[in-house]
């Protein structure tokens, strides 16, 4: 067990490799009760969220969810989150555990008239069921077919089930009242999902190059640098951080979050390992792991723009020795079809 944003959480149950494999090949369940839940409602909540988040909230249809970012005035990332549209002016925001207090304070400091805001993080538990067999678990649990489309919300009272995830596999995330979480976990296991911990959650998301806030995202890096431009709508009238992003786009993005794969036998790559190019240390890894699916070390690192193209050769330093690696196209792992 490890401490994660004040939560005592298991790194692994049976072992990271076995858990990773079960999510890639069958189905696993993660306890993600540490994630934060905010409710936003009231007249004007669409415009209010659109002024604080990068993605286009107005374009989101009822019953759908979208990935978005909350930025500071400099365009740096405060947090990344999922916005659920529950109704015309009714939203659920799912935020990172470590950022619950800061996000809530930021939103409250930008409060507008008519907006109802509730930090409901303490009232809810959450599970993520992920893997090619997740649809079977969904059917057993909810007695209906899992939507094929991503980002679809099924609301059953205070249960919110949405076809999202952090693994690159099919599946869903299920938010339920905290008192129901233990029973929900048991039902997932009974239905055939394998218990998975934080370790596999990290290797799975890193193979997909999904960023982790606090590691790969930071208040000093913009979403354009992080390669998340797809989730930023610069066509919106305004949002916090927009002018900084527009200026950065015009001047040229100075660095990009690149996917690296080791190309020789090397120890596993970890966060904060120095990255060298042409005999000079230029940056460090923000995330790193041994990829269970690929069998090689993989990492993310912000490289200066001129070195950020796939094919760029780099070296990653591990305990004073340098090992060859290469910038690769994201995602690092792709399912064979």
């Amino acid at each position: 067990m490890v401490d994660f944003a004040g939560w005592e959480m298991p790194v692994q149950y049976s072992g990271i490799l076995a858990e990773h494999k079960s999510v890639r090949e069958e189905v696993g369940v993660f306890d993600i009760s540490h994630m934060g839940e905010f409710f936003v409602g009231g007249p004007g909540s669409v415009a209010w969220l659109d002024s604080l988040l990068t993605n286009n909230v107005a374009s989101l249809s009822d019953g759908a969810a979208q990935y978005s970012l909350m930025l500071n005035e400099r365009g740096g990332v405060i947090d990344d989150l999922i916005v659920y549209r529950l109704g015309a002016e009714k939203f659920l925001l799912v935020v990172n555990a470590s950022m619950i207090e800061e996000d809530a304070a930021w939103l409250n400091s930008h409060m507008a008239g008519g907006i109802e805001f509730e930090n409901a993080s303490g009232r809810f538990g959450a599970l993520a069921v992920q893997g090619p067999s997740a649809a079977g678990i969904f059917e057993k649990l909810f007695g209906r077919k899992m939507p094929d489309e991503r980002n679809r919300i099924l609301q059953l009272g205070e249960n919110f089930v949405v076809t999202t995830g952090y693994t690159g596999e099919a599946g869903f995330e299920w938010i339920m009242p905290a008192g129901e979480a233990v029973a929900a976990w048991g039902r997932c296991l009974e239905a055939g999902a394998k218990p998975c911990g934080l370790g596999a959650r990290d290797t799975l998301r890193l193979e997909m190059c999904y960023p982790l806030n606090g590691s790969d995202l930071s208040p000093d890096r913009t979403p354009l640098e992080a390669g998340l431009g797809f989730f930023v709508d610069l066509g919106k009238p305004d949002f916090v951080g927009k002018s900084a992003l527009v200026a950065q786009k015009a001047a040229g993005v100075p660095a990009r979050l690149c996917a690296l794969r080791v190309t020789e036998k090397a120890p596993p790559i970890r966060p904060h390992y120095p990255v060298w190019i042409g005999g000079n240390p230029v940056t460090e890894t923000t995330s790193g792991a041994l990829s269970p699916s690929l069998g090689d070390g993989i990492a993310l690192a912000y490289l200066p723009f001129e070195f950020s193209k796939p094919g760029q050769e780099v070296e990653i330093e591990v305990r004073g020795k340098r090992f060859r690696a290469c910038v690769r196209k994201k995602p690092l792992y792709q399912k064979e079809t």
């Binding site: 790194v11 692994q12 072992g15 990271i16 490799l17 370790g199 290797t203 120890p267 596993p268 970890r270 792991a289 041994l290 269970p292 305990r319």
Partner: protein, 126 residues
């Protein structure tokens, strides 16, 4: 948890098999179970002089890197290249094929200061 009778143990979960003035060093069954999924091992080079308690090798599981401390002082006389090629041996056979290095023991009194199997069993609650 397996704790063989013929070995001595360091508090940091290394074992040593003493034969004459040579010791063979590895990590315990308890240590490999805690680490799980060992994917990298780097035994020390032959000829390296180690002091008791000094970092002798590194093993890494998927989740973390761990230093392996030499239970005794001396000079490295052999390294197990098999665990370098196949680190999973540390999981599957920690007291056998998963040995890490051999050392010429320079101070036999250090062996006496290590834990006997009963004391190590008590430490890990086995």
């Amino acid at each position: 948890m397996n704790v063989p009778e013929n070995l001595r143990y360091a508090e940091s979960h290394e074992w040593i098999l003493v034969e004459g003035d040579t010791g063979t060093v590895g990590i315990t069954d308890h240590a490999q179970a805690e680490l799980t999924d060992i994917v990298f091992a780097e035994p020390p080079p032959v000829g390296k002089k180690l002091s008791a308690g000094e970092v002798a090798a590194v093993v890494e599981s998927v989740k973390a890197a761990s230093d392996i401390y030499s239970p005794v002082s001396g000079e490295v006389t052999g390294r197990n290249e098999a665990v370098e090629a196949n680190p999973a041996l540390l999981n599957t056979d920690p007291f056998g094929a998963g040995w890490i290095y051999k050392i010429r023991i320079s101070n036999p009194a250090e062996v006496e200061a290590l834990k006997d199997p009963a004391a190590y069993r008590a430490q890990i609650g086995a």
